[in-house]
């Protein structure tokens, strides 16, 4: 598979003196679902922000073998504007990119429908549950047709059932649109379920300690969570994380 983006020798020390990332080398391949797993504060979120060019690395750099693609970002919080309706929120990226209003609305409507929010476009965020707000956040990202989607612990605050249903919908949407996903989580099971590849990071300052490829079946469902294949993958990630914490 071709490389979409690579980080080489990336480190980040904040002005406060906190070193978030010691050194990070990472290659992300087109079309893969990559999870970054590690304890809190290991620089996973910082790495996403560096890839999105929201902050600059202290050393090292990010290279895009092709043209820099359209990037989407989903935060841990739904990060919606409370004064805008669901549709208004989903439309924001297209609006900022100067897409004509009618086209932006049509694309946002279709993204909302695909994220399971077809009936809620006129609702305001405060009328929605946590899981539905997160669906709006995802719909907003996919409406802009990103090639790369960066997700920063998006489902951490949700209950288990909501999280599982969002996991399945996310996989489906990413596959349909051919989106490459970099997914930050500290849930071993979530990463084992979603990812083609899991990169495990050490506590702060973060570095990569393990890079685990997972052969995933195309179709995943609740039953898959009970297969030896799944538990084996989770076991490997868990062991690598344990090793990282001890190091």
């Amino acid at each position: 598979m071709t490389s979409l983006v690579s980080l080489h020798g990336v480190s980040k020390t904040f002005d406060s003196g906190t070193q978030a990332i010691a050194v990070l080398d990472l290659e992300v391949r087109e079309g893969e679902f990559l999870s970054l797993v590690g304890p809190s504060g290991c620089g996973k979120s910082t790495a996403l922000r560096i890839i999105a060019d929201l902050i600059a690395p202290t050393t090292g750099g990010v290279t895009w073998p092709g043209n820099k693609p359209e990037i989407g970002f989903v935060f841990q919080e739904p990060t919606l504007m409370p004064w805008r309706t669901v549709l208004g929120n989903a439309q924001l990226p297209l609006e900022l990119k100067g897409v004509a209003r009618a086209a932006a609305q049509a694309r946002s409507r279709s993204a909302l429908a695909r994220a399971g929010l077809g009936d809620f476009e006129k609702a305001y965020p405060r009328e929605l549950s946590g899981g539905m707000k997160m669906r709006v956040s995802i719909a907003r990202a996919i409406a802009a047709k990103p090639k790369l989607l960066l997700m920063d612990e998006p489902f951490a605050a949700l209950d288990e059932l909501t999280r599982q249903s969002l996991n399945d919908d996310l996989l489906k949407l990413a596959r349909e649109d051919g989106i490459t996903v970099i997914f930050v989580t500290h849930s071993v099971y979530e990463s084992a379920y979603l990812s083609d590849r899991v990169v495990v990071m050490t506590p702060r300052p973060g570095r990569v300690t393990a890079d685990i490829a997972i052969a995933q079946p195309a179709e995943r469902s609740a039953a898959y969570r009970l297969t030896p294949q799944f538990t084996d993958a989770a076991g490997k990630i868990s062991a690598a994380l344990g090793h990282a914490m001890a190091a």
Partner: protein, 261 residues
């Protein structure tokens, strides 16, 4: 049932107090220049209606102008502060000094500078000084309170500073601004009346002057009439601004949740 009670109970209390007042003044034969009966005050509304109407209009105009000016300058300066930390560092202390200096102490100086021949402009400036600060201070806070992640999202999609201001910071600051407007509306009224007191009699012609003038002549019922008008004006300003707040926020803001659900 509850809505009905919230109207009828205060009105009943008001009528009862007025009736007791009327009765007490008559019964104890309280002199007119100490405490006039409600009926005498009502009579003053009729007798002095021309003077009261002119005074009300003068004060009302100054309050509205000062409030509008405070709104425009407060928001404009807050936007400037939010765009540039240096400008904020340079100007904020002076805005605070202007705010903490008692307006009654500042009034004679402003009136001399502006001149008695432009007394309305002096009153406008004084009312503006009082009304301006809450708008500046709250709007600055609101503009700075924009969600960091939303700012990042805007930047990710290549938003300009102008777009971040217009689509994110200003709507986010709206609840702060509307709260400040309710405070400033009342302050503009206080500022206008206080400034008239400082100006003394004979030059200004608003309700503050009416009260001073009527007091000098022991027309206590006219003083009460002017006071009643000031109260009504204050309540009306507050009510209108509360209605504006509800109109702009009730669909999305958390403050409206308990009233709706």
């Amino acid at each position: 049932m509850r809505n009905w009670l919230t109207t009828i109970v205060p009105v009943a209390v008001g009528i009862a107090v007025l009736a007791a007042w009327e009765w007490a003044v008559a019964h104890y034969q309280v002199p007119r220049f100490v405490l006039p009966a409600p009926s005498a005050i009502a009579q003053s509304f009729v007798d002095d209606h021309a003077q009261l109407a002119t005074a009300t209009w003068t004060t009302f105009r100054i309050v509205i102008e000062a409030f509008a000016l405070a709104l425009v300058t407060g928001v404009a300066l807050a936007v400037l502060f939010a765009q540039s930390r240096i400008v904020e560092l340079a100007l904020y202390p002076y805005a605070v000094i202007l705010q903490v200096t008692p307006i009654i102490a500042l009034a004679p100086l402003i009136i001399i500078w502006v001149g008695y021949e432009h007394i309305d402009s002096a009153l406008l400036i004084l009312a503006w000084i009082v009304a301006f600060f809450p708008i500046l201070s709250n709007t600055t806070l609101g503009l700075r309170s924009a969600d960091r992640n939303l700012i990042d999202l805007f930047r990710l999609y290549g938003a300009s500073r102008w777009q971040i201001l217009w689509k994110l910071q200003l709507p986010g600051a709206l609840p702060y601004l509307l709260g400040a407007m309710k405070i400033s509306g009342g302050l503009a009224l206080i500022g206008a009346v206080v400034a008239e007191f400082a100006a003394g009699t004979g030059t200004a012609t608003g309700l503050g002057w009416t009260i001073t003038e009527a007091g000098n002549r022991l027309h206590i019922e006219t003083m009460f009439a002017a006071l009643a008008i000031l109260s009504v004006m204050g309540v009306a300003i507050f009510f209108l601004l509360s209605a504006l707040e509800w109109a702009l926020l009730h669909r999305w803001h958390e403050s409206a949740v308990s009233r709706q659900e």
